[in-house]
């Protein structure tokens, strides 16, 4: 009941997160033309079956379209945002070779990915308190083990500023 399809591992989060093809921001549309039968289209079919879910997971805003049995030979076409089209021939190649080739020509390099990860980490600094949009927490009262929000439970009298001020005034009077 939890396992659906021929290779249910493709549906696991771990598998999807292992995908290493993150395409550049300029790539907007990816089109895959392949055939459902034929020895030469085998690599293309495996690429579609195994790697496309990973690519879509890592590039959520990329539009991917598949076309079956339209041309005699399989190919990939990438449409960039300035109108440029990049054609990648897939005939006779292995699916691993295809994914490596795509990663090389249009994928973000390791340094770029790491820089982006660093920037994201800096943005989500747990030491910052503020609106939910920019920070993790809004007030220290949300943290486990800290004084709870006085809006939810009233503070003990000794901790209120009113009491302290009265004590200070009484001490000063004496």
């Amino acid at each position: 009941m939890p396992m659906k399809g021929r290779f249910p591992i493709r549906r696991t989060l771990e598998y999807l997160q292992k995908g290493d093809i993150v395409l550049k921001n300029r790539v907007k549309i990816m089109t895959v033309n392949y055939n459902t039968s034929g020895e030469l289209s085998d690599g293309a079919r495996k690429f579609v079956f195994f790697n496309i879910p990973q690519i879509q997971y890592k590039n959520q805003w990329l539009q991917i379209m598949m076309f079956k049995n339209m041309t005699p030979s399989p190919f990939l076409k990438f449409y960039l945002d300035d109108g440029e089209q990049v054609l990648v021939d897939m005939e006779g190649k292995d699916y691993k070779q295809i994914s490596q080739h795509v990663k090389k020509i249009l994928g973000k390099s390791e340094e770029v990915l790491q820089a982006e990860a660093q920037a994201k980490m800096q943005a989500s600094n747990p030491a910052n308190f503020g609106p939910r949009k920019y920070c993790l927490r809004e007030c220290i009262c949300e943290v486990e083990g800290q004084v709870p929000c006085p809006g939810a439970t009233p503070l003990p009298k000794e901790m209120t500023g009113k009491h302290r001020a009265r004590m200070a005034a009484a001490a000063a009077q004496e």
């Binding site: 990648v88 005939e91 090389k104 020509i105 249009l106």
Partner: protein
């Protein structure tokens, strides 16, 4: 309060109306429909501010021109900022991108050559197969003809031994003269004995 003006009056009013972007209708405000009007506002008739026609026309033209210019400038600056941001992202990658595209083109060319060679070989194989099939078919036909000829000859040979009306009496005499014994015996070892006693 609404003003219903029809026909040519519309153009005049458009010319004379202050060119405000938003047309504000009478808004309800704090008091509801049934609340009484305040004592100080009992006989008040709201009158729009007076408009000098010539001044209005001149002002409208000038404001239109001014706003057009400022809007154009604003958009220009916005576009420049966006383009700068885009350029700094992709401009630095332009050379590498070009190099990668060249690499991709070479790869495609290599695949193309491979494909051309493969198609050539496939075509030759197909042609060879066709020729062989034709030869095979020819051979088959020849065999067939030969077989048929053999059958005809065999039939001709057999025809000599047929029983016809002329041969009939002779053949009956021959058959009666030579009785044939079809009996045979088989033992448990499987040895067939054709020579038995005719009863």
């Amino acid at each position: 309060m609404f003003q219903v003006i029809g026909g040519r009056g519309v153009q005049v009013t458009r010319l004379l109306a202050p060119g405000r972007a938003v047309l504000v209708e009478a808004v309800r405000g704090r008091k509801s429909r049934t609340d009484t009007v305040a004592k100080s506002k009992q006989g008040r008739i709201k009158v729009p501010p007076p408009v000098d026609p010539t001044e209005m026309v001149v002002l409208k033209e000038r404001y239109a021109e001014y706003e057009m210019i400022t809007r154009a400038l604003r958009l220009e600056f916005k576009e420049e900022v966006l383009r700068k941001k885009y350029e700094e992202e992709t401009g630095s990658m332009a050379e590498e991108h070009r190099a990668l595209m060249v690499f991709n083109d070479q790869e495609n060319l290599r695949m193309l050559q491979q494909r051309v060679v493969r198609i050539q070989m496939e075509k030759e194989e197909a042609e060879n197969k066709q020729v062989e099939a034709a030869i095979e078919r020819e051979l088959q036909q020849q065999e067939f003809i030969k077989e048929k000829e053999r059958e005809i000859l065999k039939l001709q040979e057999d025809a000599k031994n047929f029983i016809t009306l002329e041969n009939l009496d002779q053949r009956i005499e021959e058959a009666l003269d030579s009785p044939k014994n079809y009996n045979f015996a088989v033992d448990k070892e499987g040895r067939v004995v054709k020579q038995t006693m005719l009863q």
